[in-house]
């Protein structure tokens, strides 16, 4: 068994979950960020995780066992509409006194943080399990 591949997959899983936490915390940090004159309104982001084969050589050799490595990219969230609040005194209010805030669902982002954290810890447990398998095999004789 190739322990290094398994460790690589777990590490990639941890990185992918970390990206999800990054996206969620970025959104939460900007939940009340308005669009000041000139710059566009903050667009909420989400981490999209796709899988890639482990290496080109494996793809070329047609390996029947597709070990998949997860990779995350931050993309703008689709289908979010800005949330408008009536604040006539706000410097960024429009002519009707409405201020636009990013359409960020606080609960959803918090849920993402929690599930991503659990998944991160699960990948960490998997990595430690791989390590103990490797060490245990070496200790057979003694």
């Amino acid at each position: 068994m190739d322990y290094f591949k398994a460790i690589e997959i777990s590490a990639a899983g941890m990185a992918a979950q970390q990206a999800r936490v990054e996206a969620a915390t970025l959104n939460l940090a900007n939940i009340n960020t308005t669009a000041t004159r000139g710059s566009p309104l903050y667009q909420p982001v989400t981490a999209v995780i796709t899988s890639a084969p482990t290496s080109f050589t494996q793809v070329l050799s047609g390996s029947s066992r597709p070990l998949v490595i997860p990779r995350a990219t931050l993309v703008p969230q689709a289908g979010t509409t800005p949330r408008t609040v009536y604040e006539p005194g706000h410097p960024d209010a429009d002519s009707a006194g409405m201020v636009a805030y990013p359409g960020i669902d606080h609960t959803r982002e918090m849920m993402t943080v929690m599930t991503a954290l659990r998944a991160y810890e699960a990948n960490l447990a998997a990595l430690q399990a791989t390590k103990s398998l490797a060490v245990r095999a070496l200790e057979i004789g003694s």
């Binding site: 997959i9 777990s10 998944a119 699960a122 447990a125 398998l133 245990r136």
Partner: protein
């Protein structure tokens, strides 16, 4: 007829393969388009043929906890066999070398 050692080694190899599957399933829990994998054991000659990695076509959703429990059980099985192998060897060593184990 495979020896005891060969049987244990084959079982440990199955555990290694199962661990690979567990690791991939856990790491790709939130991967888009990812299909869960599992080991398929050839029913015709159970134990004679090594299992193959196939996509898990069952529709029942598997929670993260279930994945972690499965990984933990697999690890325990591997640990048990490794220790049994060690004890087996020490018995042989004592038999061949009664004075020093």
């Amino acid at each position: 007829m495979p020896t005891v050692i060969e049987q244990i080694s084959a079982a440990m190899s199955v555990c290694n393969l199962q661990h690979q599957v567990n690791v991939a399933n856990i790491a790709n829990r939130d991967t888009q388009g990812y299909q869960r994998m599992k080991l398929h054991f050839d029913r015709a000659m159970s134990g004679a043929e090594p299992p193959s990695v196939v996509t898990d076509r069952s529709v029942a959703p598997v929670t993260l906890e279930q994945d972690l429990v499965a990984m933990s059980n697999n690890l325990l099985q591997y640990e048990t066999m490794a220790r049994a192998l060690g004890r087996y060897f020490s018995i042989i060593a004592v038999i061949t070398n009664p004075n020093r184990g």
